[in-house]
């Protein structure tokens, strides 16, 4: 948790499958960069999967979730289903035309594509550097 005051009312929780393939790691990298750019805040999908109460309740109470699965196996989707969470924005990276493999040399082009897809799924007008101008993380008691 960041060392800052209250959660903003419209903060996006970003959940990446972070799996053991290029698309899993793309989901993770995109989540990290979207967090750094102020679009939302990456959160621990493993904590929800582990059914830790603080994590599950946080996912239930946050107004906007962006869940990113690398492939159609859908681990993030399954974790959210098991936690009883149904209302979220969902992106599968192989649906974007990115082939699943074990090449972990992620391209900037693919990372940008994923970030744009996440932003589009959340109905945000911009990604990347522009996201800061439309930041959903508005600081204390926003």
């Amino acid at each position: 948790m960041e060392n800052k005051c209250c959660a903003a009312n419209n903060e996006v929780m970003i959940l990446a499958c972070s799996g053991g393939s290029n698309v899993g790691q793309l989901s993770n990298r995109a989540a990290v960069e979207l967090t750094q750019e102020g679009f939302g805040k990456m959160y621990c999908l493993a904590g929800i999967g582990g059914q830790l109460k603080g994590f599950v309740q946080s996912a239930k109470d946050v107004p906007v979730i962006a869940a990113i699965d690398g492939c159609a196996v859908g681990c993030a989707k399954a974790i959210l289903k098991n936690a009883g969470i149904q209302d979220y924005n969902y992106i599968v990276l192989t649906d974007l035309g990115i082939e699943k493999n074990k090449n972990f040399n992620l391209s900037d082009e693919d990372i940008t594509r994923v970030k744009k897809a996440v932003a589009a799924a959340c109905n945000s007008p911009k990604t990347g550097a522009e996201a800061s101008k439309f930041s959903r993380v508005v600081g204390c008691c926003g």
């Binding site: 948790m1 209250c6 959660a7 959160y43 830790l52 603080g54 946080s58 109470d61 946050v62």
Partner: protein, 77 residues
């Protein structure tokens, strides 16, 4: 009953503490209400944001001020 209000001390966190204390007083439940402001201790609960309310170790709400009715439900069980 042990109730913790997690939050570093902004208006929403203070409002949450007030709501919780009022709910406890109105229901007559025997409970201690502790405000947790240390960010490291708050992080141990794994919550996405604050304020958050924890009743007997169970995280009940995160990132919003709960209604007094909700708090009464949590502490009446």
């Amino acid at each position: 009953m042990d109730i913790k209000v997690l939050g570093p001390g902004c208006a929403k966190c203070q409002q949450t503490e007030k709501v919780v204390k009022e709910a406890v007083a109105e229901t007559g439940v025997s409970a201690t209400v502790e405000k947790v402001t240390d960010i490291r201790k708050i992080a141990e609960y794994g919550v996405f944001g604050t304020p958050a309310v924890v009743v007997d170790g169970d995280v009940k709400c995160v990132g919003k001020v709960p209604s007094k009715q909700d708090v009464k439900k949590w502490i009446s069980k």
